[in-house]
């Protein structure tokens, strides 16, 4: 049946009788011609605005699964976006962390128990250090320049990302810790050093590029562990109570340095 334009126009102006309205509704439900006639009555400007909104949401980045999970847990969206804006090396870092730990476990298998646990404890705190040093910084983050000049840049960003790296590391290392055969309180002894070393890396990175900071802290850490073990003739000497105290002091000093040099972060991270 041909389109009754008068009905269409009165449909738009809401001046149909009920019967007419029902008729138009039924035609709209099945007739392309009626739809087309009605389509032409709607303001193009208004439809253009809606179209712009449609295009806008199509082009908006879809949040990653990690981001959505964090948002659901109550984290503010601008934070999840920044933490989730994953530098391309993060996956590589996760894989190398796992490989590193498995390697450590494999070599020490069959050795004396102390050797196993000493190797594990020495490597474990370095995982977040590598995470911080390798993953966040120029060359790893494609949006690095932009990140340093945004209001969220500088210290806040670096600390947020460090916490992110630390948290993921703790999960990986925690799983590995369960795999180590040794059942001893020592198995948790890497936690404080891990946090302290991450903080130290950040602190040092206010003076030198973050990669160098990470490498330096890692080298210093391994040297300390080996020398302490030699002197005390105990493979896990650095992880006993005095060692933990040293780690706590190092953590406090690092935090103090970070706080004192907080202005350096908007510059230091951006220099290569």
């Amino acid at each position: 049946m041909s389109v009754d334009l008068d009905l269409i126009h009165r449909y738009r102006r809401s001046t149909l009788t009920r019967d007419e309205l029902v008729k138009v509704e039924l035609e709209l439900q099945r007739s392309p011609a009626w739809r087309s006639a009605l389509n032409d009555t709607v303001d193009a400007h208004r439809l253009g605005a809606t179209w712009a909104a449609v295009e806008g949401s199509l082009d908006a980045p879809t949040p990653s699964r990690l981001e959505r999970a964090a948002t659901r847990l109550g984290a503010p969206q601008h934070l999840t976006r920044i933490m989730g804006a994953t530098p391309n090396l993060r996956r590589a870092w996760m894989v190398s962390a796992v490989v590193l730990l498995l390697f450590g476990l494999a070599v020490s298998n069959g050795e004396r128990e102390t050797a196993t646990i000493a190797l594990f404890l020495s490597i474990a705190p370095l995982v977040p250090v590598f995470g911080v040093g390798l993953v966040y910084g120029p060359g790893a983050d494609p949006a690095h320049e932009m990140a340093t000049v945004t209001p969220m840049g500088g210290l806040r960003l670096v600390v947020l990302r460090t916490l992110m790296a630390l948290l993921t590391s703790l999960v990986v290392v925690g799983i590995a810790a369960v795999l180590v055969e040794e059942r001893s309180i020592l198995i948790a002894a890497w936690l404080l050093p891990a946090v302290a070393l991450s903080a130290a890396t950040l602190a040092v990175s206010s003076f030198v590029p973050i990669r160098n900071a990470a490498a330096g802290v890692a080298a210093g850490w391994l040297t300390l562990v080996v020398i302490w073990a030699r002197i005390a003739d105990d493979g896990v000497a650095a992880f006993r109570l005095p060692g933990q105290l040293v780690a706590a002091v190092a953590l406090a000093v690092s935090v103090a340095v970070i706080a004192a040099r907080r202005d350096a972060f908007s510059r230091a991270v951006s220099t290569t």
Binding site: Y11, R12, S14, T15, L16, T17, R18, D19, E20, L21, V22, K23, E25, L26, L28, Q29, R30, P32, A33, R35, S36, L38, N39, D40, T41, V42, R46, L47, A49, T50, W51, A53, V54, S57, L58
Partner: protein, 182 residues
């Protein structure tokens, strides 16, 4: 003029990520969807949001369209539900603002214009506006009783009761007509 086959071809291109086809689909359908949604919701901003959501959903799920169906009816099914979602989120319109049937003056109610089709037209003619609204939401818009309740701002139970009443009145009317003809 455009045919249903055109629309299906267009939608097939959209499902392959063709932005030009999507633009064309929008221009062919956004207008009437907007106008028709306005007969169900008095707030133009909500209507525009619903149309926006509809096309975002279409872009993402064009593949789900059955290749033999009516594209327009499919779009309408999405649009009316997006409108319900928007209204649930912001519930700004009291029941009275539902435009469908509200503008009908009672004197005009008695007018018979003719050209109504089928059982729906028959039963709607003599029904009071509340029953007619429920019938349109379920029979024309194809909503479930739950969705119809959300659209009209009434509980699902009320929708069911009104549907039963509408059906009973239609049956009584039919019986009366049959009795007259004997």
């Amino acid at each position: 003029m455009r045919t249903e086959a055109d629309d299906r071809a267009l939608l097939a291109r959209v499902s392959r990520g063709d932005r030009a086809a999507f633009d064309e689909l929008y221009r062919a359908h956004a207008g009437w969807l907007t106008a028709r949604l306005e007969r169900r919701c008095g707030d133009p901003d909500l209507v525009d949001l619903a149309v926006q959501d509809t096309f975002v959903a279409v872009w993402k799920s064009a593949k789900k369209f059955r290749s033999q169906g009516d594209v327009g009816a499919w779009l309408w099914g999405i649009a009316i539900r997006r409108l319900i979602d928007q209204m649930r989120k912001r519930r700004p319109t009291p029941v009275e603002a539902n435009v469908l049937f509200d503008q009908v003056a009672s004197a005009e109610d008695e007018l018979f214009v003719g050209g109504l089709h089928g059982e729906l037209g028959e039963s709607l003619r003599s029904l009071d506006p509340d029953l007619a609204r429920v019938l349109v939401a379920t029979a024309v818009d194809g909503l479930t009783t739950r969705e119809a309740g959300q659209l009209l701002g009434i509980p699902q139970g009320t929708v069911k009761t009104r549907l039963l009443r509408a059906r009973r009145e239609a049956r009584d009317e039919l019986a009366r007509l049959e009795g007259d003809s004997r």
